[in-house]
Homo-oligomer: 188 residues x 2
């Protein structure tokens, strides 16, 4: 299953995750990543601002895909349903083996966790903007966006810890459903 | 209304917020904060690790108070209700004028926003732990904690932007209610 194509960018991501796991994030240099991926340091920096950004390649792709899906959702779909469907579909972007390695690196570095949280915060802001652009009122847009990102965060963590056969969209559905059970108040 | 007592710690927080607003966060030193508050630099560092921590004094107090309230909640209160009640009651910790100044400083500094998000992430983890300690199942605890922190984040932003007479607990109630309307699914 070659989800990560053997292109230069994919090779650099693979190489970086291997090197971070072997020698630690701090000690790995961009030059080492480039060498292992069989590219020049110059090529590395054409793709990534710094070695940290290698870890957030999928987060940025996630935002692009989720926003496009929300924009394309039929007008009669409820805001949070549009958001959760978009997030569930974004599972195609993730490879579990990579996601686990990445999670181990991020958990070990508070600075990387801060960056991760900042990216998720930006994702919530972008989702709220996309909902407002669909005519969703301010508070509804903000609440649906934050709830959607909370669902993503929890589903993703459960999915990478889960058995190999579970799928990401199923994990999103389960967390969404538990949120409904806990928050559940009939709409007035 | 002297919610912020004229004690040394309160004076340092006041002085820091004034100085950050006047000269920017980066350019303000711990010594300047101490001088304006009428204390020594040594006293400043007895209270705060660095000037950044002055901004998170209330966030840490919030976590202590919210966790204590969850631990003290009657056993028959639903998890998310216990969390939201604890958050609403924590409004007594905040002064709106200070909160607005603080928000302006944090918004202008991505590094501070990252720190803020890390603190909120820790708050969610601590809430989930407190719920698990009450016997709440894993997924329910995590979902209720993340939903509660999302409610806090949105309520707080709305409250500081709102008219001077609105109260924090009312803002929490309104956001909680909108979440119910958006997520609402009858518990099965």
């Amino acid at each position: 299953m070659a989800r990560w194509e053997p292109d230069a960018r994919g090779r650099m991501i693979d190489a970086a995750l291997e090197l971070f796991a072997e020698g630690g994030f701090e000690r790995t240099t961009a030059l080492e990543i480039a060498k292992r991926a069989g590219v020049t340091e110059r090529t590395f920096f054409r793709h990534f601002t710094d070695k940290r950004e290698v870890l957030f390649d999928r987060t940025d792709a996630l935002q692009t895909q989720v926003i496009a899906a929300i924009e394309a959702a039929p007008v009669d779909v409820a805001p949070l349903d549009a958001v959760c469907a978009a997030i569930g579909d974004a599972g195609v972007l993730f490879d579990r083996v990579h996601a686990r390695r990445r999670d181990a690196v991020i958990s070990a570095n508070p600075g990387l966790l801060e960056r991760e949280l900042l990216k998720l915060n930006r994702l919530a802001a972008a989702i709220a903007d996309a909902l407002r652009a669909r005519g969703v009122p301010e508070l509804t847009a903000t609440v649906s966006a934050e709830a959607g990102v909370a669902v993503f965060k929890i589903s993703f963590a459960r999915w990478i810890a889960d058995d190999p056969d579970s799928d990401f969209a199923g994990s999103v559905q389960k967390v969404r459903s538990e949120l409904g059970a806990q928050v559940g108040e009939p709409a007035t």
